[in-house]
């Protein structure tokens, strides 16, 4: 009996060990790809196998990165873009959920608005950029509006669908207690749709970045999008790549934060 137990313990240990080994190899190859990518880029650029003017090189980007941190300009641009993205993202998500709630509240309104939602969803929202800038004046408001408008319709559609798919028996339980429609919404619809709402957050992080960067392309005064368009205009592609890399890192961090939030909230 005791022998058997020890054997199982040993096998379990081996299993854990094998998982660890596998994880280590995965990390190793991920690092290899990272290092290879940047060293090949550096190598090709130094030997002028690719045009260093267009493709720059990791070392140049790094130097520019240090310079821009020292003179503080990177932080200014990053701060501007981050603020716009976060506000656009929050505004788009809340507005989307709010509209979804109205549609759920009144089936009549939902029927009336249905074709408009389809049209608005199909239309590329960034095309509204020039109109927004003229209407809201170039600067924060118009760019935040870009970030919001790009995710609001899809949020509305996805969240409204999940509102409708809540098991009607939960509503029946509430109705037998004489619950009002608002109570039904609060006690059943919202909590049941919570996972969907959180997963739209993840999609919206990506979408609002698109809206904000395009907005900054158009307004061209501040932000990482401005850095890209400025670098393009003066043909400083080191600057373009620097902002691209910064965007990639920050957007990933934001996505991971939302992911963490999701895991925490869903667990409860």
């Amino acid at each position: 009996m005791n022998k058997q137990l020890k054997k199982v313990e040993l096998l379990h240990k081996n299993y854990i060990q094998s998982l660890k080994v596998e994880k280590r190899w995965v990390r190793f190859y991920q690092a290899v790809i990272f290092v290879l990518f940047f060293s090949i880029w550096e190598f090709l650029s130094r030997n002028e196998w690719i045009d260093p003017l267009i493709f720059s090189s990791p070392s140049k980007i790094w130097n520019l990165f240090i310079d821009n941190i020292q003179d503080g300009s990177l932080f200014t641009h990053l701060g501007v873009t981050l603020t716009e993205t976060i506000f656009g993202f929050l505004l788009g998500t809340f507005l989307g959920v709010f509209i979804a709630a109205i549609l759920w509240w009144s089936p009549m309104i939902s029927k009336i608005l249905d074709p408009y939602l389809v049209v608005l969803n199909a239309m590329p929202k960034v095309a509204l950029g020039p109109v927004l800038i003229v209407a809201l004046s170039p600067g924060y408001p118009s760019i935040i509006a870009m970030g919001a408008i790009i995710c609001v319709i899809i949020t509305t559609i996805v969240v409204y669908t999940s509102f409708k798919e809540v098991d009607p028996n939960y509503l029946k339980v509430l109705q037998t207690f004489g619950a009002t429609r608002f109570q039904c919404f609060k006690e059943a619809i919202i909590p049941a749709s919570f996972p969907t709402i959180i997963s739209t957050l993840k999609v919206n992080v990506g979408l609002s970045w698109v809206g904000v960067i395009v907005g900054e392309f158009l307004v061209s005064s501040k932000g990482l999008g401005y850095m890209i368009i400025y670098g393009f205009q003066v043909f400083n592609f080191t600057l373009v790549f620097l902002s691209l890399l910064v965007i990639a890192v920050i957007a990933t961090i934001m996505y991971q934060l939302v992911d963490l939030l999701e895991k925490k909230l869903i667990k409860q």
């Binding site: 339980v173 037998t176 006690e187």
Partner: protein
């Protein structure tokens, strides 16, 4: 005047292409403290009838009176228990059982203590109040659902096949528990089921419904000696088989007549 009066209920469901009559000319009365069952094959409108009595659906025609008042004017006098427990998975057991009180704004220290005591009476103690429904077994969850239904102290209880999703052993135990609890509180109850044995073991009267459209086909008075017994013991009583056979035969003949009527001539 009877406690519950159901008068000439007709109900028709409309869709774009069809108008299906689910219930036709249903009239019945239930006395206070009585336990009755609606028995019948699927599609005979049992659940529709229950929903109409509970004021969840408005009937096309007819009225339902509870203590001489139309059910549409009542609030929280009728409790409803569904086929599955439908406990809210994101709420703890305590939040679930206090839900009805919270929604009707009757939640205070006294009602809360009463409800938690009721949970204990159902044999659910040992700190399960703070647990989530998914941590409980099917039978426990259905007991919690019963506590939730009883918490608002309804005068009339509707049981819509509440044991059909459970395994046989749990089902027998719960039948006893529900029957004893309702008797202890003197509640009036209506059970919907397609299980003949369950209907006999639990009820004082059984209404047999015929399908398409649902009508009351026959009413059976359960023998006195069975009424006194708990469902489990009733099942073992010698009178049980007799009434079981009678109802069984009626159901058979009902099936034959409906089949005949559907055969094209």
């Amino acid at each position: 005047m009877s406690f519950l009066q159901v008068r000439n209920i007709h109900h028709t469901y409309f869709t774009k292409d069809t108008a299906t009559t689910a219930l036709s000319d249903i009239s019945l009365t239930v006395e206070e403290g009585e336990f009755v069952s609606f028995l019948g094959p699927s599609g005979c409108g049992k659940t529709t009838l229950l929903s109409i009595i509970a004021n969840l659906i408005k009937p096309t025609e007819g009225t339902v009176l509870l203590e001489n008042k139309p059910v549409s004017t009542l609030k929280n006098d009728i409790g409803y228990m569904l086929q599955q427990d439908y406990l809210f998975p994101w709420k703890t057991i305590e939040e679930n059982i206090l839900l009805g009180l919270k929604l009707s704004k009757q939640l205070n220290e006294k009602t809360k203590t009463n409800t938690l005591n009721l949970l204990k009476q159902m044999g659910l103690n040992g700190g399960i109040e703070k647990q989530l429904p998914k941590q409980l077994s099917g039978g426990m969850r259905q007991r919690v659902a019963l506590v939730r239904t009883l918490a608002t102290e309804p005068k009339l209880l509707m049981l819509d096949e509440p044991f059909s999703a459970l395994d046989y052993q749990t089902k027998l135990k719960l039948e006893d528990l529900v029957s004893n609890t309702l008797k202890a509180f003197g509640k009036t109850a209506i059970l919907v089921t397609h299980d003949i044995g369950e209907a006999i073991a639990m009820s004082d009267r059984v209404f047999l419904l015929s399908p398409r459209p649902g009508r009351i086909y026959k009413t059976f008075e359960i023998p006195k000696e069975l009424k006194r017994l708990s469902p489990f013991h009733a099942r073992n009583h010698e009178a049980f088989q007799g009434i079981f056979q009678t109802i069984w035969k009626e159901l058979e003949s009902l099936e034959q007549t409906t089949e005949k009527s559907r055969t094209p001539s």
